[in-house]
């Protein structure tokens, strides 16, 4: 069986995978990072969103072997030293989550979307999140959260 090596949440990892193993299953099943979720099988719902090289991608739509040597950040890697990331705080402050299932993917997408910007319009946020489906919140509070999160991140 082939092996793959990458950095996940700052840690170097290596694991055995099949050619067909998706990155999301490598993360969930081999690394036990179950925060990244599988919500669909057509790569549309975004619940599996992680960062590859700082960019949001759908981990269900990339083979683990295609991430060889890459730097991956999952939701588990967002908070640093027990302190929530400003985007995570913003989601909590603004009730941007209900059942929580879409939330890791939504937060990872949001962090990537607002990178380098502090003031996004509602429209920009709503369009930018079209790769993430939420069934619970109706998006109203997610937009509020992303706006607040962007401000709090201060353009970083």
């Amino acid at each position: 069986m082939p092996t793959v090596s990458m950095t996940v949440n700052g840690k170097a990892v290596t694991g055995e995978v099949e050619g067909r193993t998706l990155l999301v299953h490598f993360l969930r099943d081999k690394l036990h990072l179950t925060g990244t979720h599988v919500g669909c099988d057509t790569a549309q719902c975004g619940a599996c969103t992680v960062h590859l090289g700082g960019k949001a991608i759908k981990s269900c739509n990339i083979l683990a072997l295609q991430a060889e040597g890459a730097s991956i950040t999952t939701i588990e890697g967002l908070a640093q030293n027990g302190t929530l990331h400003p985007m995570q705080e913003a989601f909590r402050d603004n009730h941007g989550l209900q059942c929580g299932f879409c939330t890791p993917g939504m937060v990872m997408a949001a962090v990537s979307l607002v990178k380098g910007k502090t003031n996004l319009s509602d429209e920009e946020i709503r369009h930018g999140l079209d790769g993430n489906i939420c069934r619970c919140t109706g998006y109203h509070n997610i937009v509020k959260a992303v706006k607040a999160g962007a401000q709090a991140m201060g353009g970083k």
């Binding site: 998706l22 790569a43 739509n61 083979l63 295609q66 997408a109 990537s112 079209d130 790769g131």
Partner: protein
């Protein structure tokens, strides 16, 4: 999906060798279309040859009469490229509309063109601008490249290296999204080029096509009204849950008009 052997060549030459050696190999670049296909078990390659580690396929260069984009360039890179935005803004705009934020970080122009999905956006730009597809074997003009649904002029194992888009006088792209998949139900790319007006339509038919009637109308008067007045035939256009052939026909003229009106 079924299992396969995975290869990650670092040069076009090695990629060509790998596909030649495979019994039923497939190239994967961004994988944004191929992986969902494999997960549905609609294809069963013996080998997957990953093109995403090949440096020769990357890069955007202003050169000649326009701009050359490496086949491995992502949609996000094209959308955000200052060079593309300056040279052919409609192309950057089109790239920003493909898929969604996450898909654009991985999906590539080469993958889109090689796949030739009847609802993909890039084929409309390539045909609309009269682009040239450069492979590891030859150069193919856009007018000769797109053969039909998921069919192109590429030979087995042939690899797209880059696409060259000549700079138009002005161009515009309007996309009407199928509400569920957000692919183009109809997408129209309109360009005023050196050799006249070109109008390329995606989503409406079995493959991307040029509309002679709209090219004639807009050639005379490059405006929304000129396009709106053209009645496109529904004959041969796609009909499905999301739109009848007549609806698509109507959208073709409406979108062509809007693309012309907003052309930059």
């Amino acid at each position: 999906m079924h299992n396969f052997a995975f290869h990650r060549p670092t040069s076009v030459a090695d990629a060509a060798k790998a596909i030649g050696a495979a019994s039923d190999g497939k190239f994967v670049a961004g994988g944004q279309t191929l992986l969902p296909t494999l997960r549905q078990r609609l294809a069963q390659p013996s080998d997957m040859i990953d093109l995403s580690a090949i440096a020769e396929l990357k890069g955007i260069k202003v050169e000649g009469d326009g701009i050359t984009i490496g086949a491995g360039t992502t949609h996000s890179e094209v959308a955000n490229s200052a060079d593309v935005q300056k040279t052919i803004p409609a192309l950057a705009h089109l790239a920003s509309l493909i898929g969604d934020h996450q898909v654009r970080q991985r999906g590539t122009i080469g993958g889109s063109i090689a796949n030739n999905d009847p609802a993909a956006d890039y084929p409309a730009a390539a045909l609309g601008l009269g682009a040239t597809v450069k492979t590891n074997k030859r150069e193919i003009k856009a007018d000769d490249f797109f053969k039909g649904m998921f069919e192109t002029a590429l030979e087995e194992g042939e690899i797209i290296v880059s696409l060259h888009f000549p700079k138009p006088e002005k161009a515009g792209y309007e996309k009407f999204r199928q509400p569920a998949s957000r692919f183009a139900l109809v997408g129209v790319f309109v360009a005023k080029t050196k050799s006249g007006v070109r109008v390329a339509v995606t989503g409406a038919g079995p493959g991307v096509f040029r509309s002679k009637e709209l090219e004639a109308a807009l050639g005379g008067n490059f405006s929304a009204d000129a396009a709106k007045g053209v009645k496109i035939s529904a004959n041969g256009l796609n009909g499905d849950l999301h739109g009848s052939p007549e609806y698509r026909a109507s959208l073709v003229s409406t979108l062509a008009g809007r693309a012309a009106a907003g052309a930059k």
